[in-house]
């Protein structure tokens, strides 16, 4: 359960709206289901009181929406940022993707978000609603009169289990307490794959990536993918292709996407969250992050504004491409 309440957020938003600090509020609203929360812009108190949502399913990273939404907003826009969102926020500022002056950022603590698939696995289908009390989530389903109770921690999303930071790296104002950067085990899974034989790795990814339906959800949710025109939508780019025509097609899509965000990806995990096929896409991005850390020194995208991403930087004694395999240990 989140420590900060919906009412606290609404009150903050209303006070900022009424004193004229902000013109509108970027927040969450209910989608089709209780657990299907989408970003929305709120313009007044009524809208907020009625539709604003804050619960364990508000995983959406708002930073990305600032690029398009601030263009449509004349005054300042209020945005609520969870710790991991603040990294994307900084990264987008580094890339001049929105005007900092047009944003009023309120940092909010996050206790970890729930993964609906884990809940479904635990409670079955037919979920009507979910409410939280203490460390428990109460799941009301069609098939049972009594709510099924699960511990929040047991249904944490993968990215929250491996949360890298509870520290806000950017905000105008902070609600609640700030946390710390966490020593996470987020690279363990990458290391496990690295330890496989090439055949096993190929089989692993063939299995994962062949499920890709090229819906572009990963790209559309990714806060690093804010290109005005994505190469995959551009007929002149040479890689535009909507349908997965064969086994390499979707590999190429995901390699290119991972490469395009390499050094800029903050590891927010949105790609895996939104993938309808449950492909562990974060494992591609984390591979690049792990490599960058080990080849060129630790680098966390978005930790500060204005840093030079590793791929637009170099040192004269970087390791040679042929040496990367020696670094990774001999797992051929």
């Amino acid at each position: 359960m989140q420590k900060i309440t919906r009412e606290q957020l609404i009150d903050k938003a209303v006070s900022l709206l009424s004193d004229g600090t902000v013109e509108c509020v970027l927040g969450w609203e209910k989608g089709q289901f209780d657990y299907d929360i989408t970003p929305a812009v709120f313009n007044d108190e009524n809208e907020l009181r009625e539709n604003f949502v804050w619960n364990d399913f508000c995983g959406a990273n708002f930073s990305k929406y600032l690029v398009s939404k601030t263009r449509k907003c004349n005054g300042k826009m209020l945005v609520f940022l969870k710790p991991c969102d603040t990294y994307s926020f900084n990264q987008l500022l580094t890339e001049h993707r929105f005007d900092r002056e047009k944003v009023y950022a309120v940092g909010i603590p996050c206790e970890g978000m729930a993964d609906i698939d884990k809940i479904k696995a635990a409670c079955g289908d037919g979920i009507i609603s979910i409410d939280a009390s203490g460390d428990k989530l109460n799941v009301h389903t069609l098939y049972s009169d009594e709510p099924i109770s699960v511990s929040a921690e047991s249904v944490f999303a993968e990215r929250c289990m491996n949360c890298k930071s509870k520290k806000h790296v950017a905000y105008d104002e902070l609600l609640g307490e700030d946390g710390d950067v966490i020593e996470s085990h987020r690279f363990d899974e990458v290391a496990e794959i690295e330890a496989m034989t090439p055949d096993e790795r190929f089989a692993f990814w063939q299995n994962e990536l062949s499920r890709c339906i090229r819906c572009n959800a990963c790209r559309d949710a990714c806060p690093a993918c804010t290109c005005e025109k994505c190469v995959f939508d551009n007929p002149n780019s040479g890689v535009e292709n909507k349908a997965a025509a064969n086994s390499f097609e979707e590999k190429m899509f995901h390699i290119i996407r991972a490469f395009h965000v390499a050094g800029r990806c903050t590891d927010c995990g949105e790609c895996s969250r939104v993938c309808p096929q449950h492909i562990p896409l974060h494992l591609l991005n984390r591979k690049f992050i792990k490599d960058i850390n080990s080849f060129y020194g630790d680098y966390q995208a978005g930790a500060e504004v204005g840093t030079r991403a590793p791929l637009v930087d170099y040192t004269t004694d970087d390791l040679e491409p042929g040496e990367v395999f020696e670094r990774g240990g001999d797992n051929a």
């Binding site: 690049f288 960058i292 637009v312 491409p321 990367v324």
Partner: protein, 144 residues
Amino acid sequence: MQINEYKPLIVAFCCNWCSYAGADLAGNNRLNYPADVKIIRVPCSCRVNPMFVLRAFQRGADGVIICGCHPGDCHYTSGNYFTRRRMALLFSMLDYLGIERERTRVEWVSAAEGAKFAATMNDFTEKVAALGENKRLEDLRCKR
């Protein structure tokens, strides 16, 4: 293509100032290397987009090699340093996906290293040929 005589298809991206000139020098000195190697001239190795490498594989190349000036000697001062980082990460990723690491290579060949160019191509072709056809990467529709 004849079945019993497997010939790998190798795409070599060569920077105009060092490696392409190195390849020319190999020609001037009549140093043999396999005809399987086809060279594409780029102004600098940093012009090689990872997309080109993947495209080559997708269209049926068996190996891709990128040649540039030696680090520190880039005609554009820093181009090959970026190449080095980009390709290190790309190759590591391809390896991570289970694609044979011998299919990709970056080699620094200066304009004076005609012999090195030929030797590199001989060695690379041999290694790629030993792997056999590129089944993991090619796009079957586009294969000859």
